[in-house]
Amino acid sequence: MLKLRAIFTILTMVTFVLGAKAKSNLPISREAVILETSSPSEILIKAVGYGTGSKKAEELDLRANIDARKAAVWFLLFSGSDPLLTTEAERANFAKIQEQFFEPANLKSFICWEADYYDSRLRLDEQKLKIEKSLKINKTLLLDNLVQRGIIQAPQAIAAIVGMPTIMVLPEKQGDRAPLELLQTYPNLKKGAEVIESFLTARQFTVIVPEQQQALNELSSVHFNLQGESEDYSYILALSIGSDIYVTYNVKVESRRLGTSTVKKGIVACRAFETTTARLLGTETGYSQERPAADAVVIEEAMNDAASKVLDRIVNYWKLDCARGVQYKLVVNINQTFEPQAAETIIDHFVDLVKKMAKNYQENAVADYTYDVLLWCDPALYRTSSDVYRFLRQNYKGSGVLQKVSVNRKLILLNIVAE
């Protein structure tokens, strides 16, 4: 018995010592800053790395380099306003593989460029070295890797369930001038739209280009006129609100004289809204460096900065929203020929239908003759708005007749008229 106890004690001590000695792969430094979004997939980061635990300069240098790489990746995963790991579940999943993930060999595959020289190098003590260096990380590769490992859900997987959001990019309204007119008048605004669209397409979002949309609208209008029929405004409205999300932006180019040169700074603000509710999903401002360059260059630089962050915000929103179901906005308008009490009964009937159909719902307005509600439905049952409309049409047993005013991707407008 004593022998057994001694063996157990020794084994425990050995385990404890080995466990204590086992070095974690997690970064010592968590200091990093994004310098620039070089392209939709590449991020230029300045990261701090610490080399510790050796008196040899070369070893400290190697360790500091590895730590800087880790810090850069860590920053993209966890820090900043739009980390890749957003939900608790994702973080918990990642925690299980983090030691393996932060293996130096694994990290190297995400680094597409590393500076040859340090931005700074400081020996803090005999056994501690601090370096600052710039690295370029391929965020898309990083994201794909996390998806492959099952840490986060692939955007494609979300798309398979609810589809990727459709996004329209429009300049912010200025006075009475319509966004489309602004796009046609100001090349700087058009440049801004182009940069955001480039980001969106690179990330496989469905993008609605406003000018093209307008051309299509005009074509439909001509088509109806030729047939001698009046324009189907609801269809045009549906086309117009054909996006799940719309992004508005404004562009400013400030300039000043530096000697005989004019240096310009691009400032852009990007705002993303949920189309049906006008809910603000994210706002970001991007700045370019001051450069003696053309407007388009500084706008692109500033927009790169802002667009990347806003799109991250959109993806995160979409992921969270998908977990709740597919979102629809339902507006039921009850003809005023109905007595108020009858209208109330009709609304109650719709509330019952909504409860039956939706996983979740949120009433925006319940007026005497209007019922405005947001629905989150099971994508397996209600993949499109037509499915929702069909359910309502088939199950509405109340007074009057249910009439479709408009059904587009997100918005379902219905009328109840007297029989």
């Binding site: 500076a115 400081l122 530096l258 000697g259 005989t260 040169s261 240096v263 001051e290 003696p292």
Partner: protein, 586 residues
């Protein structure tokens, strides 16, 4: 002028001026500190303008006509370093400035204001034209990999870099604080001594551009020439005074160049890009004007417990190849480690500016043999006894680095001389009494003068060298004749071959041992110096001439020191011309 050279522009400043000065200094230092820290471990190109006018600290120091131009051109040629971009000021402006300062007295502040007013706008104009091209050099590695360069194909520079260019402009003003010509009656040589300095100003751009003094450096130099001779130069025949003056100017200009390179703002710095055994690779090259064999300290920035950051040296290297970093791509020069610490990539190399010459002292021993004989001239009779013994002396060498010329590192042109003594017995017979009571001398002086080639091979801190020297050896006997001193010398021509082993004590000093062979055969060549005249004479007793020779091994100690400056540099003129020619090579 109301300023003296000891306390430059010694004037009583008002309280307002003191406050202004402190403010300006604080601003300058904070800017310098900021530049220094943000670009830790990396030299940032500076631009330099100069005033082509000479300030005199005292009217008494005024130079003869033509001398001032020579002094200014020589200084400008030496300060024209590749690490600087030059802001060439228009001639008419320079002339106007010269006229303005001519015959006037200035305080330091007045001078600063005058420069700001007269030259500031012109320098800013030059900077303005050049700023974008120069800013290209300041782009960081990350910026070169930024989307703006990769995608937009723009220059990639930012206003920040342009401002850096505008804020990295300096100007120097040469001044002369001493000029003396000495013509001793009992010496055939004339000596000119000068003291010249440079005041460096930093251009602060802004709404009201101004110049703030950064530092001033000064050096003195001397040159000698035979007062009875004239000297043929490229630009005609010049007098002995002018030759001595030019020689002094070259010494001073070379010293000022080293001192300028040694100003911390202008000192070259670079991070180590890679280390292979004892070879380090670093991103400096022709563009910054580095040369073979130039020494650099290696070290790292260390943060002390009080938060202060200090550069800690841990060895030194010498440049072994110079990259042409004007070419595209990553061009790296290399240097070999003499004293190597615990180094790694990213540590910093800092220039240690020195003149391209070392001064070596070599106490040594060699054998001297004399077979008895007689030297006779029309006035003197000298009898030499047999002698075979050692001669103790010391070599004093200037080792001029010619690596840039030979393209072989650690190759030197050696110019030097030996002074030694041997216990040779001789007697000069000038009267009958000398035959009855000979006054025998027991010591003879041995003097060598030689030139040759030395090559050194470093193996870590140890170095092996070989040298071959050709020279003249002279054995000198001193006595009196007719109550006046006389020296009778036997001359011989020969060669020396040495092998040495050195140890680098520090970046400037090597200590070691050497052994060699010297071959100075017996020659019946004689020189007599009597009554201030030195003449070559024939030995009338050549049938019985003494055989004085040294065919012997020689061995001794070796110590050399790399000089930061040299007041009397006999090789300065040659070195200046050589370096000018090397600069003009493609």
């Amino acid at each position: 002028m109301n300023f003296t050279n000891n306390t430059f522009f010694q004037n009583q400043p008002t309280i307002k001026r003191i406050v202004q000065t402190i403010g300006r200094l604080l601003l300058t230092f904070s800017l310098i500190a900021q530049i220094g820290w943000t670009q830790q471990g990396r030299y940032q190109r500076k631009s330099i303008a100069y005033v082509d006018a000479l300030l005199l600290t005292d009217k008494a120091t005024a130079l003869p006509a033509g001398y001032e131009r020579y002094l200014l051109s020589t200084i400008h040629d030496n300060i024209r370093l590749s690490r600087f971009d030059y802001n060439q000021l228009p001639d008419n402006l320079q002339q106007r400035f010269r006229n303005t300062i001519s015959g006037r007295t200035f305080t330091e502040y007045e001078l600063g204001d005058l420069i700001s007013r007269e030259l500031g706008p012109a320098i800013i104009q030059v900077l303005d034209i050049e700023k974008e091209a120069r800013a290209q050099n300041l782009l960081s590695e990350a910026q070169r990999n930024s989307f703006i360069v990769l995608k937009a194909k723009e220059m990639g520079i930012t206003a920040e870099q342009i401002e850096q260019v505008l804020n990295a402009a300096y100007l120097y003003v040469p001044f002369l604080s001493n000029y003396q010509v000495s013509k001793p009656k009992d010496d055939k040589d004339i000596t000119v001594t000068i003291e010249v300095g440079l005041i460096y100003y930093h251009l602060i751009t802004g709404d009201e551009p101004r110049f703030d003094k950064v530092t001033s450096i000064r050096s003195s130099g001397a040159g000698s020439a035979d007062k009875n001779k004239t000297y043929d130069m490229n630009d005609g025949t010049i007098s002995a005074v002018e030759y001595a003056f030019r020689s002094a100017v070259h010494s001073v200009a070379m010293n000022l160049q080293v001192m300028t390179r040694d100003i911390s703002l202008f000192r070259l710095k670079a991070p180590i890009a890679a280390i292979e055994r004892r070879t380090v690779h670093f991103p400096l090259g022709r563009k910054e004007g580095i040369h073979l064999d130039e020494p650099f300290y290696v070290g790292e920035y260390f943060q002390k417990s009080d938060g202060k950051v200090k550069f800690q040296k841990s060895g030194f290297v010498r440049v072994s190849t110079v990259a042409d970093d004007n070419q595209p791509g990553r061009q790296l020069s290399t240097a070999y480690a003499i004293k190597k610490g615990d180094w790694s990539k990213g540590m910093t190399l800092i220039e240690h500016p020195r003149l391209p010459l070392d001064f070596a002292v070599k106490p040594r021993w060699f054998d001297l043999t004399m077979d008895e004989g007689v030297f006779a001239s029309d006035k003197f009779l000298v009898v030499f006894s047999d002698y075979k013994g050692i001669c103790v002396g010391a070599d004093f060498d200037l080792q001029i680095n010619i690596a840039e010329l030979t393209k072989k590192r650690q190759s030197f042109l050696v110019l030097g001389g030996t002074v030694g003594a041997a216990s040779v017995k001789s007697a000069v017979y000038s009267t009958i009494w000398d035959f009855i009571f000979p006054d025998e001398r027991s010591v003879a002086i041995v003097v060598d003068g030689y030139a040759g080639y030395l090559r050194r091979f470093y193996l870590g801190p140890l170095a092996l060298h070989y040298e071959g020297l050709l020279g003249v050896q002279r054995l000198i006997l001193s006595d009196t004749y007719d109550h006046k001193p006389v020296s009778i010398a036997n001359n011989t021509v020969g060669l020396r071959l040495n092998l040495g082993l050195e140890y680098a004590l520090n970046i400037d000093t090597n200590l070691g041992l050497f052994a060699g062979l010297q071959i100075f055969p017996p020659l019946d060549l004689w020189t007599i110096k009597y009554k201030d005249k030195e003449i070559d004479v024939d030995n009338l007793a050549n049938f019985a001439a003494p055989r004085i020779y040294s065919l012997s091994p020689t061995f001794g100690l070796y110590i050399h020191y790399s000089l930061p400056s040299l007041s009397v540099n006999p090789t300065a003129m040659v070195q200046s011309s050589l370096s000018k020619q090397l600069k003009s090579l493609p």
